[in-house]
């Protein structure tokens, strides 16, 4: 028998006229997510989706669906022909997965097919009575059941299920425009990317590469992180921005204590240009308040002033531990902690300014050919498409 999953989504239903677009995006995302897992058919019906596994590993399909943003929960479903005898037999089979003496349960029927001769309540009562007869020791409890058997009477057949697997929630990736993620290779930025994907944003990423001060392996690491994020958000375009000359210029021509602030300002400038080129509507960073010198209010203020484009910081209120937990959960942690962080530390000042002043920063930048540096960096930027 073919496995069938019923998929529920939450917020999509609220979105008025856009609903059709949201549902279609979810369908497309589910198809893409399952393409390499199994041969499936995705159906869109009455505020839910169905995935029919035609051939392949049904458990792997379920695991994959649990990572697709927009899905609130899913249930493996068994089908029955439209007769009470068939429905009862299927209900018995499904319920045998959970039945045990003393279990409090109820039957919940939805009758989408109004031509079916029995009313929903009547179906529930009959199926419930059948289960009580079949499994000794069950108790009916319609208020606080430990188990619910769902029966859906549809046009051509009935669907019966008990299990509910949680999905990741959120919105289907692609319904909320495109953002550009500043991806460092550390723990935070991939988590920020994941949280943005969760809100339906399509991602591109930019990594600032300062070879020989950072290693080729740190670039590999960022590619691997993108591959992990692609599991949730589909193919990710990664821009590897050339940052070596900028770092050298800053090092040679600006005060050491402002180096981090000035570096971040250059990164934001480059990212904004890339975002404009690529049609991304916001920058996304892994910054959280107060973690390091560049993440004080004063620093964030001085850094963000170089851009017109909105900067989203989905981790702003999270503690380091919370970010690490999320990073473990989404699978980026083991990649993030690989040791080839970077050798930028040869540039890092011992006492970075935690409260940089805008006029000092602007005075320092007066010594630089900003436009020239930006143009050179963009010209040398390499773009990669990272899929699964």
């Amino acid at each position: 028998m073919k496995a069938l999953y019923l998929i529920r989504y939450g917020e999509i239903g609220l979105k008025g006229k856009n609903r059709r677009f949201f549902e279609n995006t979810l369908t497309a995302n589910i198809r893409r997510a399952l393409r390499d897992v199994a041969e499936c058919r995705v159906l869109q019906q009455h505020s839910r989706h169905f995935v029919e596994v035609l051939s392949g590993d049904a458990a792997a399909v379920a695991a994959r669906l649990q990572e697709v943003f927009g899905i609130v929960s899913l249930s493996p479903v068994i089908t029955a022909a439209l007769s009470m005898a068939e429905i009862k037999a299927a209900a018995e089979r499904e319920f045998s997965k959970v039945a045990k003496p003393g279990l409090r349960f109820k039957v919940n029927t939805r009758r989408a097919n109004k031509k079916f001769p029995l009313l929903s309540q009547q179906v529930s009562a009959e199926v419930g009575a059948h289960l009580l007869r079949t499994f000794p020791g069950l108790q009916v409890d319609v208020h606080e059941p430990e188990a619910v058997l769902d029966v859906e009477i549809r046009e051509e057949e009935a669907y019966i299920y008990t299990e509910r697997l949680p999905g990741p929630g959120g919105l289907p990736v692609g319904v909320a425009g495109k953002g550009l993620l500043l991806l460092s290779g550390g723990i935070d930025s991939p988590v920020a990317g994941w949280m943005t994907l969760k809100r339906g944003v399509k991602l591109e990423a930019v990594h600032f590469h300062s070879y020989p001060y950072t290693s080729e392996r740190s670039k590999e690491k960022v590619i691997d992180l993108c591959r992990e994020l692609a599991r949730y958000g589909g193919k990710i375009r990664l821009h590897v921005a050339h940052f070596t000359e900028i770092q050298e210029e800053l090092r040679l021509k600006t005060p050491e204590r402002l180096l981090v602030t000035l570096m971040r300002r250059m990164m934001f400038r480059l990212a904004e240009r890339l975002a404009q080129q690529q049609g991304a509507l916001a920058l996304i960073t892994g910054e959280s308040l107060g973690q390091v010198a560049s993440q004080t209010m004063e620093s964030l203020n001085v850094i963000e002033r170089v851009t017109q484009i909105p900067v989203l910081r989905p981790l702003i209120g999270l503690d380091k531990q919370e970010i690490m937990d999320l990073s473990v959960k989404i699978g980026t942690y083991p990649i993030s902690i690989r040791p080839y962080e970077d050798c930028c530390t040869i540039f890092l000042p011992q006492f970075p300014a935690t409260r940089p002043r805008l006029k000092d920063v602007e005075a320092a930048e007066a010594a630089l050919d900003l436009e020239g540096l930006i143009a050179e960096s963009l010209a040398k930027t390499e773009t990669l498409e990272i899929g699964l």
Binding site: P212, Y213, S215, P339, E341, D342, C344, I346, F347
Partner: protein, 386 residues
């Protein structure tokens, strides 16, 4: 782009003759030496011949050579195999602080099993004296393990003196030598050194990765690491890595035929390298003794992180290695340079250059040019006034 590979202590390219010998075993003489038919016999003969070549290179008997998956396994087999086998006779083991990780971590693992290990200090050149080793030997000392040539700084340990002194102090104490870095470059003579166990590896001498050997004195019994068939007298069961073994022997044969000639060439390359470097970068300091192994040079280049210089040089086609990996979230400076009393700052700025006979004098001059250019450029960044 012209490339100069100066990381030969990490690994070496397989020579074409070696690859050809391996190809023959992979596709033609592919039999399992344990098979009773003719193909099995042919493979058996090839293995026997390989064993003879390696045994001859060490001046030992054929039955004293056991093929392994490489230096790491041979070191593990020697140390764990001897210690576990003789557990009832004592629980004390001795090694130095600058051994290869496959020795150091093996001893640490044995500490977990209840053995007591003495880790001997080295001097500023990365050397122990035979007297210091012998002094540490006790009544219950089962095993002493000292490397022949250190892989990071090239110091040559006085193994020929250590063996006799250890045996004089306690005739029952076993002596193991990790000769991975010296084999094929310096004479390796376990019998003269009174070594009971000795480790060699193929891929440091233009042989394949995944093959090494342990010399184990006849009559000495080891507890095997693996259990299985009776290959390698049951000490190292598992169907033989025939291509690796035959490739190893081919590499040994080539290396041995030119060992003295190669030695002179490597020594000359090292002399030239240091002389050229001294002229261009007089403040670069050598780590390790001046009379160390001819193929290894370890340097501290003040004010530059070794890894940054490594990446900059890789862009120029010059490949070498660092004494320590540079990463901001985890510090693991070279344990060898630490034991030699270098500061963390000096260690961070260290580089290892290792030659092979495939390198020419012109390569060395070219590499030094590139190194000094990269150092000068990087120092503009790192030596800026604060």
């Amino acid at each position: 782009m012209r490339e100069v590979y100066l990381d030969n202590s990490a690994t070496t390219p397989v020579l074409p003759e070696v690859a050809a010998a391996m190809q023959e075993v992979l596709t033609d003489n592919f039999g399992n030496p344990s098979s009773l038919h003719r193909r099995g016999l042919r493979a058996e003969q090839a293995k026997k011949e390989a064993r003879r070549v390696v045994a001859q290179a060490c001046g030992v008997k054929e039955q004293e050579i056991f093929f392994t998956s490489g230096g790491t396994e041979a070191n593990n087999l020697a140390i764990k195999g001897a210690a576990r086998r003789r557990r009832r006779r004592g629980s004390h083991l001795i090694t130095t602080k600058i051994e290869h990780p496959s020795v150091l971590y093996t001893f640490q693992a044995l500490e977990e099993e209840g053995f007591a290990v003495t880790y001997l200090d080295v001097d500023a050149d990365g050397l122990v004296t035979a007297e210091a080793v012998a002094d540490a030997v006790r009544e219950d000392t089962l095993l002493v393990s000292v490397m022949h040539v250190n892989n990071e700084v090239g110091s040559i340990m006085p193994v020929a003196e250590i063996g006799p002194l250890v045996k004089a102090k306690n005739p029952r104490t076993l002596f193991h030598v990790d000769a991975v870095q010296s084999f094929g470059k310096l004479p390796v003579r376990p019998q003269a050194w009174q070594a009971d166990l000795l480790t060699v590896s193929a891929h440091k001498i233009h042989g394949p990765k995944g093959c090494g050997a342990l010399y184990c004195r006849e009559g000495l019994l080891l507890a095997p690491l693996l259990h299985g068939g009776d290959q390698e007298q049951g000490v190292r069961p598992g169907t033989e890595n025939m291509a690796g073994i035959v490739g190893f022997a081919a590499a040994v044969r080539l290396q041995l035929a030119r060992q003295e000639e190669n030695y002179r060439q490597l020594a000359e390359l090292k002399r030239l390298f240091l002389e050229e470097l001294q002229q261009r970068l007089p403040d670069v300091r050598q780590n390790g003794p001046l009379d160390g192994a001819p193929h290894i040079v370890n340097l501290t280049v003040p004010d530059i992180k070794g890894e940054v210089l490594l990446h900059a040089l890789a862009d120029e086609g010059i490949y070498l290695s660092t004494g320590s990996a540079c990463h901001s979230h985890r510090a693991d400076p070279s344990h060898v340079l630490l034991a030699m009393g270098r500061s963390p700052r000096q260690i961070e700025s260290s580089l290892r250059i290792s030659f092979s006979a495939l390198i020419t004098a012109a390569d060395v001059v070219y590499a030094v040019e590139k190194i000094s250019a990269a150092v000068t450029a990087l120092r503009q960044m790192t030596r800026r006034k604060r």
